[in-house]
């Protein structure tokens, strides 16, 4: 047990800090559209050219080959420098890429990994379907082998940044007669193939965070399969373990910043008595204190994941604890903001707390609802028996 950063780690932090100071874009990110995509890609390319992309990815594919703690340092310094968020590159960097590293062929790795790191290509996810949400393995999108291709027909939903993506991690059912988990394959789908259609879904914040994707006779080469035919569920578990595990590193740092700004809000907003600043209200002060302690615990959960990653490549089911804790805390932070704001909470500004509050429901649902995380914790961390209702 130690918190020590080696002198190399410290030097790394200094170098990152200096480089970010010089290179973080001055102009803010455009809110959406092709300009947003370009902004994200350009920032990724800048990182790549500076030698900072894929901190803990293997160096043979353009990564830095450094231990995960360096990735954490990188995220910390990015937050300190107010560097742009990962944006459209989230899936490629945080679970698409790591899945290829763990399960992909040499060709797949050689093609995609450097391109993801350079910001040349954008990845998105194609897992959920309209009737396969929490019950992901119920997916029905069909893939039929025809020569060297899989011919895909069906529909996906909740695909973030689909309209910006070049490739997609796509789950299809390739053996409808096999057991539910036994007939699924994991594909790399080129989003520009004929027959792929993207339709954005509008959310309650007024934005389109995600889309439906429709597939009509889309021909995907079999060489784009990750893992074996019908063995995609194993690969999926790897993807989900990355999604629920290490992908939260930057989210946690972001949330810590949100909490500090919430404290500022409480200093500058009149409290429930209509007279003193909210932070002088005994109850609000206690809630703020507890939330600050909890965001610290979230950070420690992340550090524990990093520590475990020193021993094993693949994040374990404990990632679901981090996800659950993160989702619950994210929601409560925004609820406290609403309590502090009182009537002002009705006034909606694009970057304001009200939108944050509405957006927080995404966090509790996306990447597996909190109920699903509790099932995983109960069954895979604690070893409680599986629910027979779930066929």
């Amino acid at each position: 047990m130690d918190l020590d950063l080696s002198s190399e780690d410290e030097r790394f932090r200094e170098e990152v800090r200096d480089w970010l100071h010089e290179n973080v874009p001055k102009e803010p990110a455009p809110p959406y559209g092709p300009e947003y995509r370009e902004y994200c890609r350009q920032w990724q390319r800048t990182q790549f050219e500076g030698g900072w992309a894929g901190i803990s990815w293997p160096s043979e594919y353009g990564g830095c080959g450094l231990p995960p703690i360096r990735q954490m340092i990188w995220h910390q310094e990015n937050a300190r420098a107010n560097a742009p968020a990962v944006g459209v590159n989230f899936v490629g960097l945080n679970h698409g890429g790591p899945t290829l590293i763990a399960c992909g062929t040499e060709e797949q790795k050689a093609y995609h990994l450097p391109r993801i790191l350079r910001g040349d290509i954008v990845w998105c996810q194609g897992f959920s379907e309209p009737s396969a949400g929490s019950d992901l393995a119920a997916l029905k999108t069909r893939g039929v082998v025809d020569g060297d291709d899989l011919v895909v027909n069906g529909q996906k939903i909740w695909t973030s940044y689909a309209e910006h993506a070049d490739f997609q991690e796509l789950l299809v059912r390739t053996d409808p007669d096999a057991s539910k988990h036994g007939g699924i394959s994991w594909l790399i789908c080129d989003m520009n193939l004929p027959g792929v259609e993207v339709r954005p879904i509008k959310t309650m914040t007024g934005h389109s965070h995600f889309s439906e994707v429709f597939y009509t006779d889309v021909r995907i080469p079999l060489s784009n399969m990750v893992g074996e035919l019908n063995d995609g569920w194993r690969v999926t578990m790897a993807t989900l373990s990355f999604e629920r595990g290490t992908a939260f590193m930057s989210g946690q740092i972001e949330l810590a910043k949100v909490v500090e700004s919430l404290i500022e809000l409480a200093k500058n907003t009149t409290g429930p008595d209509g007279r003193r600043p909210a932070i002088q209200d005994d109850g609000i002060a206690r809630s703020l204190g507890m939330i600050r302690a909890e965001v610290s615990a979230l950070r420690c959960l992340t550090l524990a994941s990093i520590s475990r990653a020193l021993e094993s490549e693949m994040p374990g089911p404990e990632g679901s604890i981090t996800k659950l804790f993160y989702a619950d805390l994210s929601m409560r932070v925004r609820q406290l903001a609403l309590e502090i704001l009182g009537g002002q909470a009705l006034e909606r500004t694009p970057q304001g707390w009200t939108n944050e509050y509405l957006g927080a429901f995404n966090v509790a649902i996306g990447g597996g609802t909190s109920e699903i995380q509790r099932n995983i914790i109960g069954e895979r961390v604690l070893g409680l028996p599986r629910d027979r209702n779930r066929k």
Binding site: S128, S131, A132, G133, S134, D135, A138, I157, W158, I201, K202, T203, M204, G206, T270, P272, D273, G274, R275, L338, G342, G343, Q344, A345, L346, E347, R348, T349, T354, L358, F361, N362, A364, I365, G366, T369, E371, R374, D387, N389, R390, K391
Partner: protein
Amino acid sequence: MNLLPDSQQQEIIDATAGFLESEFPLSRLHESEEPVPISRELWQTMAELGWFGLGLSEELGGTGFTLAEEALLFRELGRVLAPTNVLAASLAVRVASLAHQSELAESIIGGNQRVAIAETADMESTLGENVTGRFRCIDGSDVELVLCSSAQGFALVTRDALGQGDVVPCMDEHTHLEIFDIGGLPALAFAPTEMDSIQNRGSVLAASMLVGSSEAARDQATEYAKERQQFGKPIGVFQAIKHKCADMASRCEAATWQTFYAALAVRDGHADATFQASAAKLLSAKAATENGQANILVHGGYGVTAEYDAHLFLKRSHVLDLLIGTHGEHLTRVLHEPTAA
């Protein structure tokens, strides 16, 4: 003693629900992302139904029912997320009547002047012969009168006299939100908080709308849980969902009966009327916002889409929560006012 609606009251509920189903279908909120003011025609129809003077005695020009029937009406209005103008009109009629402005009262009852409510936004506002302070006006884009509300009471002013306020996008995109800074504007009519228990009446009516919203959210979540299949079963089979719905039902039940009780206690001038009215507002606000949140979560991914209704209930519950006093004011009252014997 009987808290259940009697047969005449049940008729009011049924007739109102039927009317609202055709005139205020929830689908209307998916046809526009802007607030849709109630049309003049529809307003006139409501006037003819006697809604604006429902709880006012016939000798004062009202329909001759009581706050109990008003509570039942507003519960139905809350269910369909109707704009708050009916509530504003109902209180405005009473304020005008209490200020002996019978012509004004008649004009509102008759549907000739439409009303919006404006809730105080700071502690410095004063209400009386004149109105001063900052107010958040709800659903006031196309009205003739504005009813200013604060802990001091209610004051009625003309919309024209307020000039152009600061129109702000509202959390609820179907609610028009405009901020006015008012400096010493003479009121058409003023009723202080205690007069005819006017503020308690307002609390009960707002609570009734919140009850309706919380019940509709419960019903939506329950219906979805029966229909939506995952793992080969309706999701309502799973305790994570089933128990969320049960908690929604529990919150509704508590808020509903507390609100009905408060309506009667205020109507009959009981010593605990203020306590009961504030308790109703607090419990119904809790039920509406928590059920609004739970409804979204029961709907999973679909709950956060604009296409589904779930988010509409949550957003509206926060708007209704703002009306007639802050949590802090009501909590202070329930802690210090006398309770039931």
